[in-house]
């Protein structure tokens, strides 16, 4: 009992700090993914300096040019420089990906904790989550966006909504397993308050799988934003995003395939990089899940 109480007071998960270097050497794909991701993030931040011209400046005399020294990826039907547009497009993807991952995790964490703790709420919440998961993510987002004025904020909200149930389920399952553990009982016995149990014991246990899940949500959000913009129901056309650059280039695909394939390649590499980092985090933080996958 004494050891249980001691454990309850100091249960902080083991830190993985020193092992990161060794881990990266054993998993070169994670290192590659991480490096790519850092490069993409830096390029997006530095977009104003990397871009050769303003991505929305129209030049009708230079429409649909092939790639050249002046326009590295050529120009689109308004004479806008495709390279500059693609560089700026990364910003939308990353902003949407990160915001959705953050928002979905926070909302899901809150609902999951409440649902895991209060049996009465749990039944209703889980039925609602089951129902939400039955609606395909893209369809749910489309329905929301079709009723609003196009903006990046609406896209973020619309993509967050279908991701929330996944987080809720994860957090709830962690809460349900952990709350039965003897050390939680011990903590309750010595009079630890519920908020304190949540902060000291539940959060540290939920955090590793949550971080992994957040990475996958980020990748999925980048994909869904691109798909929505590609369908004409996402980022408004005046802001360049990889999805809407591809959508605008579609009529010229047979003659100038690079207009579609180049932004597509940037999108694919970004999602790949996020997924590789996610797999790495999973192997490092959540060995149990790693074995199951």
């Amino acid at each position: 009992m004494a050891t249980a109480i001691a454990a309850a007071k100091t249960s902080v998960p083991p830190r993985a700090r020193g092992r990161v270097g060794a881990f990266l050497r054993r998993h070169p794909t994670v290192a590659i993914g991480g490096a790519l991701l850092i490069a993409i993030v830096l390029a997006s931040i530095a977009a104003p300096w990397l871009a050769t011209v303003d991505p929305i400046s129209i030049d009708p005399s230079h429409r649909l040019r092939n790639p050249s020294a002046d326009n590295w990826f050529g120009t689109d039907r308004f004479g806008r420089d495709l390279y500059s547009r693609v560089v700026y497009g990364g910003r939308v993807s990353l902003v949407v990906g990160l915001s959705v991952a953050g928002l979905a995790t926070l909302i899901g964490l809150t609902i999951g904790l409440i649902s895991g703790y209060l049996r009465a709420v749990d039944r209703v919440v889980m039925r609602v989550m089951d129902g939400m998961m039955a609606i395909p993510a893209i369809m749910l987002a489309i329905a929301l966006i079709a009723l609003s004025k196009a903006s990046i904020l609406i896209v973020i909200v619309a993509v967050t909504l279908p991701e929330v149930p996944r987080v809720v389920r994860l957090v709830r399952s962690v809460v349900l397993t952990i709350r039965e553990q003897p050390y939680i009982e011990a903590a309750t016995a010595i009079g630890t308050s519920v908020p304190r149990i949540i902060v000291r014991h539940l959060l540290p246990n939920a955090l590793p799988p949550l971080i992994v899940q957040a990475t996958y949500i980020c990748a999925s959000a980048v994909l869904i934003e691109a798909a929505l913009s590609f369908l004409g129901a996402g980022t408004p056309p005046e802001i360049p995003s990889w999805g809407n650059i591809m959508a605008e280039a579609r009529p010229y695909f047979q003659l100038k395939p690079w207009m579609v394939l180049l932004p597509g390649a940037f999108l694919a590499v970004t999602v790949l990089a996020i997924n590789l980092v996610g797999d790495g985090l999973r192997d490092m933080l959540d060995p149990q899940l790693a074995r199951r996958m």
Binding site: G131, I135, I142, L147, A227, L231, G232, Q254, V260, V271
Partner: protein, 313 residues
């Protein structure tokens, strides 16, 4: 079995209720006046009022909801704002291409991904395993519309083996149909295959460690019989589960893939409806897709008892 069947059917009811309430609520939770947004920027106040009356938005919320549900129960999905045709009729016209595409995708995915997962698990750690797992990450990451364009560029433009876009109904002959449906199906199958191959490998790894597998080997059974007869049979439940859950992924992919390949199916209907803000059509398609997801997963649950007789409900 009958008791289980009834209980499982009853469990699907709250899911369907939630979906219905959600689809209804979307129209009312969205910021701004839906009637004004549906009417568009050029509409007069009169047009907006007309649309509001037609959608019943001028009535109390509860009455709106029960009128709508009453219509749904009679199979009436309402009328399109754009063309005034019944939504159920519009959906019916677009069903064949979408069913053909999903059926073909399901076929390609299961036939290729399950063996890939089995081989990867059997030769775990080998180059085959690494290639399959690499493919899985790739399949998850590269969006369908990028793959679709790469395939069109390679097989339709550069090699000129297959038509670029479009759809030929099955009634016009098997080969024309197949030549049109192959590229979109492969496009759509990629992410789904990645999912199935990954789960198959994981489930197989678990069963391959069991004692009865060693016994089967020891009594001299051929490797193929051990893998397919003993291991895969016991790994079937998680694989079938993920095939069911993956249908959600498939449905999302249909919308994008049909758009890339200009296939006149439900996905295209969705995109057209978005552009025209034809809300009754969007609602109808969401209900049909969600209903399909619920039914598929119902069937998957029923399959459990067939695949694993130990499962009793």
């Amino acid at each position: 079995m009958h008791v289980f069947l009834i209980r499982r059917l009853l469990a699907a009811v709250p899911v369907i209720i939630v979906v219905t309430v959600f689809v209804f609520a979307l129209l009312h939770l969205a910021p701004g006046d839906p009637a004004a947004i549906i009417a568009g920027d050029l509409a007069t106040a009169e047009d907006v009022a007309k649309i509001r009356a037609r959608l019943g938005l001028d009535q109390p919320l509860l009455i709106q909801f029960f009128t709508w549900v009453g219509q749904l129960l009679r199979g009436d999905l309402g009328n399109s704002i754009f063309s005034a045709h019944p939504v159920s009729e519009l959906i019916g016209q677009r069903l064949e291409p979408t069913l053909a595409l999903t059926a073909m995708t399901l076929f390609i995915s299961v036939v290729l991904a399950v063996p890939l997962g089995v081989i990867a698990a059997w030769r775990v750690g080998s180059w085959v395993d690494r290639a399959v797992m690499g493919f899985a990450v790739f399949g998850f990451s590269v969006p369908g519309f990028v793959i679709g364009y790469v395939l069109i560029w390679l097989f339709a433009i550069e090699l000129d083996w297959l038509p670029v876009q479009g759809y030929t109904p099955l009634a016009k002959g098997f080969w024309p149909w197949l030549s049109n449906i192959v590229l979109p199906s492969v496009t759509l199958a990629l992410a789904y295959m990645a999912l199935i191959a990954r789960i198959t490998r994981a489930a197989m790894l678990e069963t391959l460690n069991q004692d009865y597998i060693r016994t089967a080997h020891a009594k001299g059974l051929a490797t193929r019989d051990v893998l397919m007869g003993h291991a895969l049979r016991n790994a079937a439940v998680p694989i079938v589960t993920v095939i069911g859950i993956g249908v959600a992924l498939l449905i999302g992919g249909v919308v994008v893939t049909e758009s890339v390949f200009a296939i006149p199916g439900l996905g295209r209907l969705t995109v057209d409806a978005i552009l025209r803000r034809d809300y009754p059509v969007i609602q109808g398609i969401i209900l049909v897709f969600s209903g399909a997801y619920v039914v598929v997963n119902l069937v998957v649950d029923m399959l459990y008892t067939v695949l694993d007789p130990r499962i009793r409900y």
